[in-house]
Amino acid sequence: RGAVYSNHFLVELHDGGQAEAERVAAEHGFGGVRKLPFLESGYFFYHNGLAKARRRRSLQHKLRLEKDSRVRKAVQQEGFIRRKR
C-alpha cells in the first residue's frame, strides 16, 4: 500500500551531451543512460545493481548524484499502477 521506488532515475545535467551523461552515469555506477527527447539535458539513468522495486528510496544514489556539480537535478522514480483495460 505504501510507495514503491524503482531503479530508474531522472537526471538533468547543467550542460553537456550524451557523452557527458554516460560519464556521469558510469562514475556513479549506473549501468545505462538514455536521452529523453522531450527534455533538454534530461536523461533516463537506470541502475542494474538496485532492485527494480523497493519500499525505500535509494538515498545514497540520489544524494551522490545531487552532489555532483554536473548534475542539476536527480529524481528517483516512484512506481505506480497502470491497468490494461
Binding site: 491497468r83 490494461k84 483495460r85
Partner: protein, 511 residues
Amino acid sequence: GYRDINDIDINMNDPLFTKQWYLINTGQADGTPGLDLNVAEAWELGYTGKGVTIGIMDDGIDYLHPDLASNYNAKASYDFSSNDPYPYPRYTDDWFNSHGTRCAGEVSAAANNNICGVGVAYNSKVAGIRMLDQPFMTDIIEASSISHMPQVIDIYSASWGPTDNGKTVDGPRELTLQAMADGVNKVTVLIIWVLGQNGVYMLELKTVTWEHNAFAQIIKLSPYFKVPLMFTLQYFGIDFIATTDLYGNCTLRHSGTSAAAPEAAGVFALALEANLHLTWRDMQHLTVLTSKRNQLHDEVHRWRRNGVGLEFNHLFGYGVLDAGAMVKMAKDWKTVPERFHCVGGSIQEPEKIPPSGKLFLTLTTDACEGKENFVRYLEHVQAVITVNSTRRGDLNINMTSPMGTKSILLSRRPRDDDSKVGFDKWPFMTTHTWGEDPRGTWALEIGFVGSQPQRGVLKEWTLMLHGTQSAPYIDQIVKDYQSKLAMSKKEELEEELDEAVERSLKSILSK
C-alpha cells in the same frame, strides 16, 4: 445520407471477418445493423492505412503472428523498461501478455489472407511499445514510451490507465505530460486513449481520471458512457471482439473496452492516409464534424444541439465515428487556424455549497477581446476548480455557456468517499461548446447528489478558453450540403456578416 447496409460489397475471406461487427454491422451478435464505424466506405474509396504507423503501447506484439508479421514495424518497436528492441510478449502461464497482440490485430491485421479477422486499417503498420508487462509503471517509462520515434509513429494507441476502482483520481505525471506536449506540438502525432472499464461504479470516475490535466491533445474516447468526450465508440453489451491472439492464434474474446483505442486509431489512420498533413486539432475538428448520432439513444440524456447547432449527447459525445465521412472530408481539409488561449475570468472567494439545492455562480467574460489572445470560436473549455467536501463522490458540477449549452463536468461517483483531498485546481474540460462564441455570462452549478446531507466549499473557479480567432470552417470545401460542415460554415458566414455590419454601424455612428 446512409446507404443501405446490404449495398456494401466487401468480401473478405478471413474467417472472423463476419464476426467483426464494428467494421460492418449487419446485426450479427445481437448488434444493431448499421451501428458500426462505416469503414467499408473508406475501404471502397481506397483508404486502408497505407503509409501510417500506429504505436501500440502495451505488453508487446506477437510479431511472428501470420496475420501481423507483414504489417509489423520492427524499427519503431521497443521496450524501455528492459531496453529490448525485440518486444515480443513475455511468457506467462495465463497468457496475460496477449493484450498488445489483440490490440494490434484490431488496427492492422492483414486482409484476405484467410487468417483471423481484418484490421480497421489493414495496410497500416504497427509498432510494439512494450511497457505494461510489469507490476508497476514509472513516469520515465511512460514518457519514454509515448515519445518513442515520433517521426515514424503517427498515432499512439493506449488501452490502459490508472486503477478504476471508482475513487482513484489519477492521470499522467509530469514527464509524460511534457512528452505528450512535445510530441503533439513539435511533430504531428496523435494520442488516443481509452478511458475506463465497464464496471457500474467506474462510469462516473472517467470524468476526472485522464481528464484531470484536460489534455486537449489527446483524443479521448469511451466504449461506455458518462464522459464529456469528443466522441464514443459503443458496444451495448457486445463486450468481446474478434482479433488476433498470442502464438499465432485468433480470439473472439478481447475486451471491448480495450478495442476502442486501436479501432479509433485505425479510423484515424485511414484519415491520415487521405491527408498526411492533418494535425491533432484537424483530427478533432473532423471528429466533431463527421461523428454520427446513428442509432445511439439514452432515455435520460437526450441528444441536444449546442449554440452553433452541433448535435451532442452527454453520454455519447458527438456520436459514433464514421470512417467513410472522415476520409472524404479529410481529403480536401485545410488545416484549421491558429489556436489561442484566454483566461476568461476567475472567482476565488470561498463559497459554501448547500447540503440541499445548488451553489450557483456566474462569470461574465469578453474572452480577451481586443487582446492578442482573443478567442472567438471555441474548441475546448476548462473550468479549473478547487473544491472540498465531506464526500467527494457526491459532488455534481455543471457548467452552462453564454449560448446556453449545459455541460456535465462531474457526476456522482458512489465509491469515492474522500473527505480530505477534494479537487485542487482540477481542470475539468468540456468539448460540447465546440464552435461557440464564448463572450457573455457563464454559469456554474455545484450541488450534492446522494442519500446523506453533505457540506462543501468551492474555493476557486477559473474559466479557461481555447479556440480560434478566425472562423475555422470558412475556407473548407463543402461537398455535402446536408453535412455538419455545411451547416457550421453557413453559421460562420452569417456571424461574420453580422459582426461586419455591426462594426460598420458603430463606425458610422461614432462619426
